[in-house]
Symmetry: none
Subunit: 158 residues, 4 copies
């Protein structure tokens, strides 16, 4: 069994026990990032949505970005924060949000790192070996649509 | 029937189905902004309140501002953030707040864009063609009063 | 003789010896601020310029603001920083700039207070008793024009 | 003769005499932005450089971005600041730098707007009617190369 994300139920334990799952010495290339953006835009159009799409590398630095015409201006920043949040903790952003609720173990973690976004729409990008090479963040519609578009973008990178 | 904002009940769905409702290539003029501020101040006096009133253009840049004597100093920033928040997502600020509660789909979205304000008092401003040309944010009293004053300001612009 | 600003030649000495010249328990009213903006806009039109005009109170809080149509977007922030800089040190912004040059006594003071603007265009506003009640910052043209428009705004307040 | 930017030699004078040159009610589309990035990347390769390329709309919001593989990470931010700086003042970034030197009229203007970049590499983007629709910022090599790549990107948009 390959553990690909830190199970929120065992958050910290599994991650701590398997530091190798955080390994990422490879960075996404611009070609790969543009492939992800192209696939994400296609999915966005298929869902009849207007999205902002951001790709960061394994160091959380911005690699590529696209703001679809008339997409929400406020989502320019959110899409980038989603991509960074996914890579900061090596899990989909929605998993963080489950843990950051009032009474939860990571309550208000959003205050860190210049502001996290912890609802769905941020997804890791891996290469064909399963190594983390970056992340994609999508914002502009429902969180379900945001996540679906982000996943489509991530899946397009091999 | 013309849908002018994204109904929170169907958040994303209506927006997705009507991408044209996000269209905004025009900017509010200073004359229009000052008309909005004048109307907002009159409404504020009528409600016996002391308000801060901010107007931003469709790019969220500040166009005009007024701080009524002895109004809350902390609301200078809030009124500007409300105006920006309304334009960032093309809906009244209070609609965002309904979605950003604990357990809600946009929990802690307020951490984005240098800080959002997601309670009522921010309203879009449209021209006679229904195009978004900017937004108004009002802060200084109850959120009900803040919203009423913002709406009065927005309604004064044709 | 009434010392109205801290002579840069004796910067610190006169200010230190006459703390009373910094006294300002009075705040500009919105009416006064709007009078200053109206006069500044008239002067700006007379000079055929497009200005951003900001008024702060004696606590450096924003009281009123106007962005003339198509004026530089980058000057929205600069006009506010000029107004604050003038009040921070109770002198026209250009005086700070003389002291903040390489080798000068206040070299790179612009790094303080979230960013100062130390070239002309920021001027104190006083009431009829000579008490500081706020400041005006203007940005959008040459520094000479910026200063002239700011002075016209300040002079309109009695 | 149509004056398209504010000649630094007559800084303010020409701008004041031609307020219409600042007009910009249109925003660049994503298609146009991607055309600019493609042309900029080609020019960058031709010059044997590794660039970061950012496109903002007329409201200075990010529309598209590309980080060429192994380009300077520090230039991710600089390219975006160059694009914003060009639009903030409607002139190439290098013109600002001529005026912001020690002893110059705009000394330390870089402290405004969350940080400006005032050396070459930021250029306005206009449509076929000469209207400002956004700006491009490029960073990763010498300022001469940065400017050449930015210009190539801007020229590709009709």
């Amino acid at each position: 069994m390959e553990v690909t994300i830190c199970d929120p139920q065992f958050f910290g334990l599994i991650c701590a026990a398997n530091p190798s799952i955080n390994k990422s010495t490879m960075n996404i290339t611009l070609d790969q990032a543009e492939t992800a953006i192209k696939a994400a835009k296609e999915k966005a159009k298929q869902l009849n949505t207007l999205m902002n799409i951001a790709i960061v590398d394994s160091g959380t630095n911005l690699v590529a970005f696209a703001h679809m015409d008339e997409a929400w201006i406020g989502s320019i920043d959110i899409s980038q924060k989603k991509a960074r949040t996914a890579r900061y903790f090596n899990m989909p952003t929605g998993e963080i949000g489950k843990l950051s609720q009032p009474g939860g173990p990571l309550y208000n973690i959003e205050h860190s790192n210049g502001g996290l976004i912890s609802f769905p729409g941020g997804v890791l990008i891996k290469n064909s070996k399963g190594e983390i090479i970056g992340a994609i963040g999508v914002s502009g519609s429902t969180v379900e649509n945001d996540h679906a578009v982000a996943q489509a973008g991530a899946d397009a990178v091999k």
